[in-house]
Each structure stands twice: as C-alpha cells, then as structure tokens.
Symmetry: C2
C-alpha cells in the first residue's frame, strides 16, 4: 500500500500536498496559544471540492483524522493539528461565486475572508451582518464552523442566522448539499444548521450560501467612560431594561485600553478605567431617541463622561481600539481567552466574579465584552515562561467557567469549544446530552475521521 502522502499526491496536484516542516509548522495551531497540537502527516491546500473529496475518501479508508482550517484565527484550538492528521486548509478556495441582490443571498467558497465578502456586498447595497472582531482575517468557512458572533449580533444575530445552505464533504467522501436557496423551507431535519458550529467534527464545508440584508442606516455612536467595571455593567443592564436594542454595545477595560495605547499610542487609558461603546442604526428620529436613551443610561449608572460622538472618525478609532484589544494583549504574553455568556441582567455580577477570580488566583485579567448580549471575554495574561503564573491562570479560567454556569450562562458564547472548553462543555451539559452528541457524531462520521477528540472529547 502506498503511503498516505504518496496516495494524496496521486490524487491532488503535488504542489498542494505539503510536508515541508518549515511550511507545515505555520499551520499546526490556531490563535489558542494554550491549546496542545500534534504533528500532521501532511498539509493539503485544497483548491476545489474535488480536492476535499479526495482527501476525505483517502483518510476515511485509512482511518486518518482530517482537520479542516480556514485562516487559523480561532481561539479555542478547534483547528489545531492532531498527531498524524491531514491538515486541510481551505484558504485557497476563496471565490465569491455569486451575489444575488434580488434574492438577497451570496454563494461563497469557505476561504473567502469575512471583510472581503462584506465589501463585495456593500458595493451592491447589501450587507452581510456577522462581524467577528477577526473579520479582516477570518474566513466565512471558519465563521460557519464556529458559528461566529461579533459586534452587531446583539441586534442582528450570529452566523447561524445567515447560513441558508452549505455544500459539504461528509461521511466517507460523499458531497452533499444541505439547506436551501429559498427564504423558508422545512423539508426534513435542519442538517445545515447542525453543520454550523460543529467545528469540523461532522464534515468539511466546501461552499456556503448566506442570506443578506439591505444596507442599513448610518450608525450613531455613544461613548461612556466609567471608573469601575460594575458601574459599566449597570449601564449595560439599564440599556436592556430600557428596551433599547443597540446595534453594538462593547466594553473595554483599563488593561485593554493600556495595551492598545502602548501599541498604537491612542491616548485612551488616561481618561477611563472602563470604556463603553454603544451604537444604534435605527433610522432618523428613532436613532436619535435610542442614542439619547443610551447616553442617559450611561450617566445614571455613573459614567464619569458620556457623549454622543458626532465625529465618525473618532467613533471608528474607538471601535478599532476594541478590535485591537486582543492582538495588543497578545504582545504582552500568552493570552488565555475566555468567552462566557450570561443572561444580560447578570453582566455586573459576572464582571465582579471575574475580578474576584483574578484576586483569588493572583492573576492578571483584562476584559473586553460584547456586553449587550452578556458575552464576556476575560483575557488572562501570563508572562511568557512563568509556569506558576500559568497554573494560576488555568485555575482562574476554570473558576470563571464554573461561575458562568452557576449564573445560568454558557462556557462559550461565540468562540466554540475546540480543545480549551472541553472541560467546560462537560460541566455545562448533562451526560445524557453529551451522549446525544456522541450518537450524532458516530452516525454522521462513521469512519471517525472528522476532527476527532475536539469539542466533546474527553479533555486531555
């Protein structure tokens, strides 16, 4: 029998089957710096659905794990290499196949970068809403695999809400279409929805049909500076209680502001301990009213300064600070990223529990949050090479997970389980529900090759 690599090279143009360790090593992990990874047997840069089909068929026959990956911007280790696997990069499948303004949908290959699709839609007066902070780099395929969220999902929902159909290579190499092109449809199980967020464990997505919206009204930005996390949390709670659904409501704490300042010299951290950024895209007077309500809520919760930003450039700069928070912190050392989501009204309580976790374990926790939907991203930072600090960080990580569950929340709002949240998944879900996961996985992946061990596997 030919070796796996020889067999792949017989099926796929040889320049797309890579074994050079210098090249492959750049692909073995995503942005979850704390998650383990193995050495793959090969990296395949798929250029077509046929390439993917060939890889899956060959791996199914040999029982070799297939780990699909997009841009590798994941934060949970979901795309990390498994020892002896084929790493299947979909980056080269980056064609925008179709944008249909009348039906308000787009068909794309998985390697299309999120911002590129959004820009192409905007040219036709259309809008693809899901906007993870990684949108300049992350791919639609990766967004679909993790059911990515983002800033505007507080009002417009997450990736799942926009995926109408996928083409995928499943089972032992069958190419299937799941979902539909029509506005509605209920023929059989929602297998398309099941693929969304399945983190590569049920097959490899090779084409995606997404629903689009019409371009929206220009957003108004409301900025609030706060002394404490708790006061900012109260402002968030007050906004949801006031019945306003903002088009974004982001929180950035002093650690993040300082890290962004140190990198980009934006002068943010001198003014605020905590920054809240609210946006509304309601048209006309309704937008004015919502912006006023948000500003009022900020003031009543104790904002030290609050303003409706009339300067579009300033507003963009503030939101770019939000997007830069994670890479800015990464410069300081390995970052262990949390992604808990709690009921909106419990944001203040959860923020105070996060502060307590930092104190309890003597660790350093920065916070960014999609505060409007209760999705918090405590970022635990450790000096490189400090094993004691690393152990303390992991204990804080676990405590935050347990606190989120205790408050009726979830261990992952939008990043996915991957490797890092497997213990959290088992803590959150009933064993009978985990058993249902295994049953579905075994039913749809009879060869056991799709990203095995990830998500609901036993934590190492």
């Amino acid at each position: 029998m030919a070796s796996l690599v020889e067999a792949l090279k017989a099926l796929i143009p040889t320049d797309r089957v890579v074994t050079d360790p210098g090249v492959v090593s750049a692909y073995v992990q995503d942005e979850a710096q704390w998650a383990p990874y193995g050495v793959p047997a090969a990296l395949v840069r798929a250029a077509s659905t046929e390439d993917v089909r060939a890889v899956v068929s060959e791996c199914a026959e040999r029982g070799v794990p297939v780990v699909p990956r997009g841009a590798g911007t994941g934060l949970s280790g979901g795309a990390n290499a498994i020892e002896g696997c084929v790493l299947l990069s979909l980056e080269a499948m980056n064609e925008i196949v179709e944008i249909d303004p009348r039906e308000r949908l787009a068909v794309v290959q998985p390697g299309v970068v999120n911002d590129r699709l959004r820009a192409a839609c905007a040219e036709q007066g259309l809008w693809y809403p899901p906007d993870p902070a990684s949108s300049p780099w992350s791919t639609i395929g990766g967004n679909v695999a993790t059911n990515a969220g983002g800033l505007c999902c507080v009002k417009y929902g997450v990736t799942r809400d926009y995926v109408l159909a996928v083409q995928a290579v499943v089972g032992r190499g069958e190419v299937v279409r799941l979902g539909r092109r029509t506005a509605k449809g209920v023929v059989g199980y929602d297998l398309c929805g099941l693929m969304v967020g399945s983190e590569g464990t049920l097959g490899v997505i090779t084409e995606i049909t997404v629903r689009l919206r019409g371009a929206r009204a220009a957003e108004r930005t409301v900025v609030g500076y706060f002394d404490t996390l708790e006061a900012a949390g109260e402002a968030v709670s007050a906004i949801t209680a006031a019945g306003v659904v903002p088009s974004a409501l982001e929180l950035i704490d002093r650690h993040c502001l300082r890290a962004v300042d140190e990198w980009k010299n934006m002068g943010l951290s001198a003014d605020a301990n905590v920054l809240l950024l609210g946006r509304t895209d309601a048209p006309g007077e309704a937008g004015d009213a919502e912006a006023d309500t948000m500003a009022d809520c900020f003031k009543r919760a104790g904002a030290t300064w609050s303003t409706r930003s009339t300067d579009q450039e300033e507003a963009e700069a503030l939101f770019s600070a939000r997007r830069l928070a994670y890479p800015a912190l990464e410069r300081l050392g390995p970052v262990l990223t949390e992604d808990v989501c709690v009921p909106r009204g419990l944001v203040p309580e959860m923020l105070s529990r996060i502060e307590r976790a930092a104190r309890d374990h003597g660790t350093h926790i920065a916070n960014v949050a999609h505060a409007g939907d209760g999705n918090l991203h405590p970022l635990i930072i450790v000096p490189a090479g400090d094993d004691g600090a690393r152990a303390r960080a992991e204990r804080a990580f676990d405590q935050i997970i347990d606190d989120a569950i205790a408050l009726g929340g979830t261990v992952t709002g939008e990043h996915g389980v991957g490797l890092l949240k497997r213990r959290g998944l088992h803590a959150e879900l009933d064993p009978a529900v985990v058993a249902m996961h295994h049953a579905v996985k075994n039913a749809l992946d009879p060869a056991g090759i799709f990203n095995p061990g990830k998500v609901f596997g036993t934590p190492g």
Copy 2:
C-alpha cells in the same frame, strides 16, 4: 405482562389514559384530510413532563410508536395516528411558566396556544413574532415541531429563529434540556435547532424557551387589486427588487375571496380577482416611504386599484380574510394543501405553472400565499366523494411539487413533510442526504418509537 393500556394506567392517573373510541376518534388526524391514519392503542392526555417520560419509557420498552400532538392544526398529516400507537396529546400542558422582560424571553409548556402567548407578551410590551394563520388555535409545541412560519416571517423569520431552548423526552425516556437562556451560545451541536421542525420524530418537547422582541411600531397596510395572478406576482417581485422588506406581503386569489364571501359575506370578490396585502412596521417616515414604495410597485405592475389603508378596522378585516381563506375553502370539500416555496423572483413563474397544473389536470386550485417570501399555498379542492377528481387533484399536487423543485424551490416552506410530502422530500433531497436523516434518526431514537415512518419514511 400487563397490557400497554394497563401499564399506562398504572403510571398515569387513569382519567388521562383514554381508550373510548368516541373520544379517541377526534384525535386520530390533523387538518390534512387526505392523509391516512391508523387506530391508536390509547390516547394519553399528558399533564406533566413526568407523564410524558412515563409514556416514552413504557413505549420504548414495548416498541410501541409514540405520536405527539398539539391542537391538531397541522396540514401534512404529521400528527396522524399510527396503527397501535400511543397518541400523546400535549394540550393540557398549557402553562406560561415565565415571561422575563429584561432577558426578553418566555418559558412555556407545549400546549400554550400561540395567540395566548402573544397576548401575554403584549401585556408586558413584548412581542413573540411567529404568527401562523392557525395562531388562534395552534400550540407553541406544534409550532416548534413543524418550525411554523406565518405572515410576519418575511421580515422576522420563522419559529426556529425564536427557540432558545427546549426540554424534551428523548431516547428511551431521558429528560434533557437542549439550548440555552443566554443571547448567544455555541457549546456543542445545535441539538435544540435540530429538534425544531423534526415533526415529533426525535422526541417529545415538554417545555420551550422562546426569544421575544420589544413591541413594534403600528403597521401601515397597502392594498392592491389585480386582474391576474401574474400581475400580482410581478408586483411582489418589484417590491423585493425595490429593497423593501415588508412586515407582511400576502396574496389571495379570487377562489379564496369568493369562498370567504360565501361564508362571511365580506363583499371582497366583487372588486378583485387577486388581492395583495402589504404591511410595513418601519417607524415614522421610513414606514411612510416603504408604504409609498409598495403602492407604487402595485400600480406599476398593473393594479386595478391600490390604496394605503388608513382605516385600521378595514385593514384588520382584509387580513382576517387571509386567515379565513383555508377554513372557508374547507367548507366546499376536502382540501389538498400545497406549501411550495420558490426563490422570490420566481413567484410569477410559479403562479403561472400552478394555473397550468390546474388546467392540465382539470382540477380546481385556489391560491393564498406568503408572497413576500415565495411561499405559495395552492389549495386543491375536490367535491366530496368524487374519486376521479381526487385522482386528478393528486396528479396536480405532484406536478406542482415537481415544478417547485425545478425552479430551485422546496416542497414545503412551513407546513412540514408529515405524510403528504414524503414523495416530495425524496424528490427534493439527494439520497445521500436522506441517508444522513436516517442515520440521525437511528442515533437519537434507538427504540424507533418517535412518530416512525413520518417525514422521510417510504411513501405508502
């Protein structure tokens, strides 16, 4: 071994285990008058999750089919009795457990009637959008089981978009919670979404957590009268091309108008062959602009009369005519209900194919449609007892299904597959996709008891 009925009576208060044929016969079928049904072994009126658990456990042990049902307003035979089954009515589980304005969610038992939930939400300034035409009678459990659509889903989505979590009895009697209470969450597979629209084939839903919206602005109604279905279809196409997303866009043809008039004497059919009813709930000036655009589209497509209705009562009356169309036609004879959904731009083409199907097979087809999302409901009417007409109607039914698939559409937009659309499902879905359905079904229903043979079973 005790008989099934004896065993059930030992587990559940005896007055809730019904075998009197006079009572049971009222429960053996839903509104799909053309679909077959069998004689159940018993009807159980569950009053609690524990009752459901007891039924499922007992039936799993004995291999007896369980057929869950709500109000029985389904239109595909999904809730029809299977020979020897336990019919499990959830109507008595009708408690609104909780409405949480701050988190914008409600928790309900499956037997809560749709309109009752909507009214209870409205009292708190909240809105549960899914509004099937059956909303005065149908239950949330049935709505979830079929992923019901409705009038406003052209703008606000379908039942699936509002289901955050379910409690269900699955497998051999395990009670599980699937989904979450938070705004976002990606921990594991979307098994909650998989339950939505599974038509009772994966378990019995015993509690539902739904997402709510804030109350919306008052709707404006735009009415258009047309001479032909094609002209009305062109108006629908023009509205979507103009970038307007109406909050409802309904079509009613002359057969339906006449049937409603004969029943309720509303005087509609004298003026129009086809009626289009558009609504917008955009606030303030945006709503005025949308209403104007819709009226323009009506006129340019050839409306014989078009007006923005300023009289709320008149508008309500017109929409009630839409809701009454189906029961009005049922008075004339058995109705075979279609539910095809095509890409929006192909509504005129599909309407013309439906007219051709009526001519080809010498049958009588009335049309109501959620025209704005391409979801058409050709209603094929047959004089009671006319076997020849019935056979012709079934051929027209099949031709319409094939036409919808040929246009890139689906055989069921919102009613579900049940029994009537099983041939259509097999025509629409690739065998590899049907095989995935069987794999999921076998994995999650190891005893094979949940509504077996429905949806993707072999058509009888």
